[in-house]
């Protein structure tokens, strides 16, 4: 732990000597900062995508596990009787925690996105919906379906499974894709820093020869490069994260409509997660440059 703290102190404390022995490389420096910024920006979006997918999958999963619907299509004169019969059946069914018929206002609200707010629900032959909440042990859907077909001929049990499960699987995969993207971005950042560090080390071979001639250890020489690339990556990732956060902030928040594209913003403590991106990028750069420097310096021995 103490060694780690010493390394962090070495990276952050001003050491003009070690900084100055390696000549400034303007183009490589700008390229590293720009690429780190771009990678951090993409990471923020991948993170937002992954977290939003996670929320969606969780939400759909919870609903899928607990809720189902019974739809009653019957002539207007039989609708109330069949609804009452269905509710009676549900009351007697083990595994059903609660069941209730949706009010006309609730049914209107469900149809509002398609037909607008002024739909006269009462005048239309719209099926009556019954919302069923399962208890923890769940009910026997096949048995319920058979009983409903015998006692309530107009009733159809919809467990939501048919349409929700593929969506939930898709949301889960999207979340996985987001995390895989973040890992790939991290690996790409490491590869980019390694290439840039290799290039800088190769371009400064003469500098390394002189430093060795005057008694510099490999740790000192590597440190000069590692410090430079780590700080550049930290700077770039910081800028990229800031821009990424602003972009996510400009996205519409969760409107309650349950739409995926309207829920891409971070929620609650998730806003803190992007703050990890710059230090993690710096750690990746530190390790990548350290390995590149050790390999190159070992080869020059």
């Amino acid at each position: 732990m103490r060694a780690l703290l010493d390394k962090l102190r070495g990276l952050t404390s001003p050491d003009s000597g070690a900084d100055r022995v390696v000549p400034p490389t303007g183009f490589t420096a700008r390229l590293t900062v720009f690429t780190s910024a771009a990678m951090a920006f993409l990471t923020i979006f991948a993170l937002a995508l992954s977290l939003a997918s996670g929320r969606l999958a969780t939400s759909w999963g919870d609903e899928l596990a607990r809720e189902s619907t019974i739809r009653i299509s019957a002539p207007a004169g039989q609708m109330a009787a069949q609804t009452a019969a269905a509710l009676r059946v549900l009351e007697q069914t083990p595994g059903v925690a609660s069941a209730r018929a949706l009010t006309p206002e609730e049914q209107q609200a469900l149809l509002e996105p398609w037909f607008g707010p002024d739909l006269p629900v009462q005048t239309l032959p719209i099926p009556q919906l019954i919302s069923v909440i399962e208890s923890d042990e769940g009910y026997d859907s096949e048995g319920l379906r058979l009983r409903l077909s015998a006692e309530v001929p107009g009733a159809v049990l919809d467990e939501h499974t048919r349409w929700r499960r593929p969506l939930m699987v898709a949301a889960g995969r999207l979340r996985l894709l987001g995390w895989v993207s973040i890992l790939l971005i991290g690996a790409a950042t490491g590869a980019m820093v390694t290439l840039a560090a290799n290039s800088a080390l190769a371009a400064n071979r003469q500098v390394i020869t002189v430093l060795r001639l005057v008694g510099a250890t490999d740790g000192y020489i590597a440190g000069a490069f590692v410090r430079r690339f780590t700080l550049r990556t930290l700077l770039g990732a910081g800028v990229g994260t800031l821009v990424g956060l602003l972009a996510v902030l400009l996205m519409p928040g969760d409107s309650g409509a349950g739409g995926f594209l309207t829920g891409l913003r971070f929620e609650g403590w998730h806003w803190l997660l992007p703050l990890l991106v710059p230090p993690l990028a710096a750690v990746v750069a530190y390790l990548a440059t350290q390995m590149a420097a050790r390999r190159v310096l070992g080869g020059l021995a």
Binding site: G17, A18, R20, V21, P23, P24, Q206, V207, T209, V210, L211, R212, L213, V214, G215, A216, T217, D218, G219, Y220, L297, A301
Partner: protein, 225 residues
């Protein structure tokens, strides 16, 4: 200080140096001569651990080079001042920072050392070149700067490879006098050169041993100076 025992060095399958033995004692002054390509630079590199022998044993300050890691060699090198014939510098740093480089890399940069730096630059006659960049210096100035850099850590041994190769006679005499003066201060000095005039000039200044590399091995070259 530096001991070579039956040392051989080969580039690939070509043997460049064979069966070389030498003990560099404190306060000794050696000339290392031999025709161009005989292996003088390689011999010096072996002496400061820049190359590892293909055979034999080298000891740097009582440590076996074969057992020393790269950091150990770096620490040993701080006790050996090296003046290269091509005087390698960091071209982006001012001369004063180049000369102070051994202090910087060894973490010894301090106000006292800055005083030493000023004194050293004055001693080699480069006070007015404090902020000059290495490419702006003449051959003689670069040689003197390389000598100053080699001396900044007050090393026990000074190894100079053709230190007068790029300078005129007057400057080579001045550099020689600087090295002789250092030797009289107790430093061990070894100069690789093919400049016989320089060796003759040293005769009146110091008691030196002349070693010659020929036929891939090290021989005493006639009478010591």
């Amino acid at each position: 200080m530096i001991e070579l025992e039956n040392v051989a060095y080969s580039y690939g399958s070509d043997a460049l140096l064979t069966d070389m033995s030498l003990q560099l004692a404190p306060g000794a002054f050696h000339f290392l001569t031999g025709p161009s390509g005989a292996g003088k630079t390689t011999f010096l590199k072996l002496c400061y651990g820049a190359l590892r022998p293909t055979e034999g044993r080298i000891r740097l300050f009582d440590q076996d080079l074969a057992q020393m890691g790269r950091d150990d060699v770096a620490f040993a090198r701080r006790r050996i001042g090296v003046v290269h014939q091509d005087c390698q510098f960091l071209d982006h740093l001012p001369l004063a920072e180049n000369i102070a480089l051994p202090l910087t890399v060894s973490g010894q940069a301090s106000p006292e050392q800055v005083d030493n730096l000023n004194e050293l630059m004055s001693w080699v006659g480069l006070t007015d070149k404090y902020d000059a960049l290495p490419p702006e210096l003449s051959g003689g100035e670069r040689q003197r700067a390389a000598l100053a850099r080699a001396l900044i850590l007050s090393p026990d041994v000074i190894l100079a490879d053709e230190p007068t190769g790029n300078v005129d006679w007057e400057m080579s005499q001045r550099l020689l006098r600087l090295l002789v003066e250092l030797n009289k201060m107790g430093k061990t000095v070894m100069i690789a050169t093919h400049d016989l005039m320089l060796i003759r000039a040293a005769k009146s200044l110091v008691s030196a041993r002349n070693l010659r590399i020929a036929n891939r091995t090290l021989q005493a070259a006639g009478v010591d100076l």
